[in-house]
Subunit: 318 residues, 2 copies
């Protein structure tokens, strides 16, 4: 996924029928309409888990990525950007009739919220046969994004990932990705969380949607019954970590001027999961998550611009 | 010109033979080598005068742009980005055998300096016949970048621009662009400044190179003899405005954390020239220049991310 980012002071996203702060899927024939409606753009690699992996690499972690791009310029840039950070890649190349590399149009409103219109493109062609055991076998944690359920062969592919992870004693972490994505695939999500997930990452809207409840306490009760380690990110309110011994709140990083919330959840996942992989307890892990999220919201774009490892060492978190 | 921007904490630019904080021209066959050596990139439209024009548009000014791109994705993005800001474009499209759209590899070192490797591509094919009278006839100020001298048909094209400007009583402003560019074309620059330029914009290294002197006072003496209104930007030291009544220093905007100096000179030009066009005196104009430069150095990339018009109104400068 490549991000095409523009400021949206005039709420053009609403004229395009997008719902603020969420992700809407669009088709290839809509690409021109969406691009033409945008102001000047900044383009950079994106994709939720790919962003998180870039964050782990920026923290100095060893990590890999499985995905699919087309044989085009956007696909080359996507792989270049991760590879140049030292990420081990199993990125499949779609055939020429399977669409262009996926791209996400990101509208940043003056309140720093991001609204997204995503063309899945080649990533929609990720097949079970593209899921290799190699990287999963080497990983402490295998991280899956909920957005995968929007892809055509999702269930099979996710099952393959989870099976490999179980075989190799790799923890399975899942991001719920987006409240409407949860709404589209609630039954699948619930089944996965109940049977296969060790660590669940979500924001408030997503976790409420998953359990179809209206208050966080109800969601935490449901999580406690399932016995899943979960962290719920709450923007400026920080993150709530649900452990076996109860819910602990970790404050957000203090940020004077929030420019763009895009990537906040992805970078939180970087710090949280990397720290867990190093053996930290979940509350410590959430502190590193908050630090990483705090960096990415200070600038446009969902990937880190600063040396996260240095920031984490300075803060005593690595 | 499209900017391909990457952080360069390991001084890769030096291994590539680039001289820090300057612009080096590269050939098409070198593109892969330079791109492969870069870390994860952010891509956005660039080009010195194009950046300045984007800045004028962001200030609410009416402006146009003359240039040349190829019929490719980068060329489309370049025109989209200016057009979506309301800039009136006379952008010629190069034929398919005239190279790809120009691009600039920008290496940002940890001290926020930018080092550039530029492939001119289609912009090198800007011909005299591509210079239309239409936009110049409507302009208070016609702004020419010194980099034009690196293009093949430069002298003729610049002469055409200057002739049109004189016919239509448009002031001619010139940016010296780069100290090595000045070094490559000193005789041409001196002739242009002596005969045709009303407003000269330069940084310290460029103005010293133009007159082959070692101290700023010597450069200001030479400028006084020529009777040219000049402004010399000096980074954190602000800008020195050389008027008929002497040199006045205008302080730089206070910026707590400089991220990327790329675009500082271009954005200074936006504020300075737009303010002059509105009838401000040169010292007031330099204050708006400083404000715009102060915005762009707070983030990656050479184009403004904030609403410059709003910032200028808040500061009482518009």
């Amino acid at each position: 996924m490549l991000d095409i980012i523009a400021r949206d002071s005039n709420d053009v996203h609403a004229d395009l029928g997008l719902i603020k702060a969420t992700m809407t899927l669009i088709e290839e024939h809509q690409l021109d309409t969406f691009y033409e409606a945008m102001g000047p753009t900044i383009q950079m690699s994106g994709g939720s888990v790919a962003n998180s992996i870039a964050g782990v690499a920026a923290l100095g972690g060893t990590c890999g990525y499985i995905g699919k791009v087309a044989d085009d310029e956007f696909g080359e840039r996507f792989t270049h950007d991760l590879r140049s950070m030292g990420v081990d890649l199993d990125v499949a190349i779609a055939s020429s009739d399977e669409g262009a590399t996926g791209r996400c149009h990101v509208f940043i409103t003056d309140d720093a919220q991001r609204t997204m219109a995503t063309y899945l493109g080649a990533s929609n062609q990720l097949r079970v046969s593209d899921i290799s055991e190699r990287l999963i076998a080497r990983s402490e944690i295998t991280y899956v994004e909920g957005y995968l359920y929007d892809l055509a062969p999702a269930k099979e592919a996710i099952q393959r990932v989870v099976d490999f992870a179980h075989v190799h004693d790799s923890m399975v972490a899942l991001s719920l990705s987006d409240m409407f994505c949860v709404d589209r695939h609630r039954r699948d999500f619930l089944s996965l969380v109940t049977n296969d997930v060790d660590v669940l990452l979500a924001n408030e809207a997503e976790i409420l949607s998953l359990f179809q409840v209206t208050r966080l306490e109800q969601a935490f009760s449901a999580l406690a019954e399932l016995g899943v380690l979960a962290v719920v990110t709450r923007g400026p309110l920080g993150a709530d970590v649900a452990t076996v011994s109860g819910v602990v709140s970790v404050p957000a990083s203090e940020v004077e001027h929030v420019v763009d919330q895009n990537g906040a959840g992805d970078m939180f996942a970087s710090g949280f999961l990397y720290s867990l992989a190093l053996g930290a307890d979940p509350v410590e892990a959430a502190e590193l998550g908050s630090l990483c999220a705090g960096e990415v919201i200070k600038h446009l774009g969902a990937r880190p611009e600063s040396d996260l490892e240095e920031l984490a060492i300075e803060a005593g978190l690595l």
